[in-house]
Symmetry: C2
Subunit: 214 residues, 2 copies
């Protein structure tokens, strides 16, 4: 039968694909997101057309690469987010997990967030339009779902949860990006400061001397 044959072939192709992805990973981690297809092919010990047969174009390869890392990060975030602890604790541990991840592998992080969008060759540049940083979107949606499941927000809870999901993820991302560049404080301090912000300390704090009119 050709079913078993096709299965064998497909399995072999899948293994090859994984090997190629691992090679691409090494190159991207070494050369940054602007790693060339030639360099990736060389690292894998083959030549360009094979890469194109497997992934279509550069965008396809990058999307496959990003999906792997995104899935891994989201898994660890989910674990922190769904832990049986009180809300503040869960928020802090999620923040800490994210920050630890980007601290441990900053190149992966940069690749996921700024994946070298401007493909220059020809008109076949992969459509960057909306998919600028899929990881952020996915994290936002994920968080929104958790919020909506577990927090009582009254009517319009779904919409509010989505706004908050994307907003909180953006806060975490921007603060993490800045922190990674300047390292102005420890990770624990950053986590506490952000959690304090989410816990309404901005509203609770008083005005500074000089009055609100100035």
């Amino acid at each position: 039968m050709d079913t078993t044959q096709r299965t064998d072939q497909q399995r072999s192709a899948d293994r090859r694909r994984r090997e190629l992805l691992e090679a691409a990973d090494r190159v991207v981690l070494r050369d940054g997101p602007q790693a060339s297809m030639n360099a990736i092919a060389a690292e894998a010990g083959i030549t360009k057309p094979i890469l194109y047969r497997h992934f279509g174009d550069k965008g396809g390869l990058y999307a496959a690469l990003a999906k792997r890392h995104t899935d891994a990060l989201l898994d660890s975030l989910r674990a922190a987010l769904d832990a049986p602890a009180d809300r503040r604790e869960r928020v802090e541990s999620t923040l800490a997990t994210y920050l630890a991840a980007i601290e441990a592998r900053p190149q992966v992080y940069r690749f996921l967030m700024h994946p070298a969008e401007g493909s220059t060759g020809g008109d076949h540049g992969f459509d960057v339009g909306k998919h600028s940083a899929p990881l952020l979107r996915r994290m936002g949606e994920e968080l929104a779902q958790v919020i909506e499941e577990r927090v009582d927000l009254g009517p319009e809870s779904q919409q509010l949860a989505r706004v908050w999901g994307h907003g909180i993820v953006g806060m975490m991302h921007a603060a993490g990006d800045w922190w990674l560049g300047e390292r102005p404080c420890s990770r624990a301090e950053l986590v506490r400061s952000l959690a304090d912000l989410l816990w309404g300390r901005l509203a609770a704090a008083g005005d500074k001397v000089g009055g609100p009119g100035f």
Copy 2:
């Protein structure tokens, strides 16, 4: 004297530079951030080397272009941020100003946030490393300064203000990006939801039925 002469020449060069920037603006707004130097030169009615004499390389041109828009946006944000009103009002009007700006000119916004980082030609690709989105950084620092000037945060206020500045800007950015893509609600609703988040509604809300253990 050659002082007046040089002044004349410089003024003429500056005018030319401004014209070139406006042409580049038109092309970037039409073709997106991956607009080619050839296209920009053609739009300006000249050829490439002139662009390179004025701006050094593509990164220089993009930086000059970004600075113009960034300055303009920051000016209007500062106005909202420094208005003589109470804190919540100021926060809401700043959020509204930002969202109105990105809604009015989404292409400008995309250019500022995702400026086609991966320059492919040669090794002279402009160093994207840390300067991924200078606008976000500048906004974060600006906001941090305002917070530190006007809000009483006790000791370590400076560091806390900077974390919050970058965090809030990131929240605004991510939520705005998502909102611009999906338009799930009106601008006013988004502003209120985000302000509610900053005002601690996440901490104040109760758990949903099912208990915190689930």
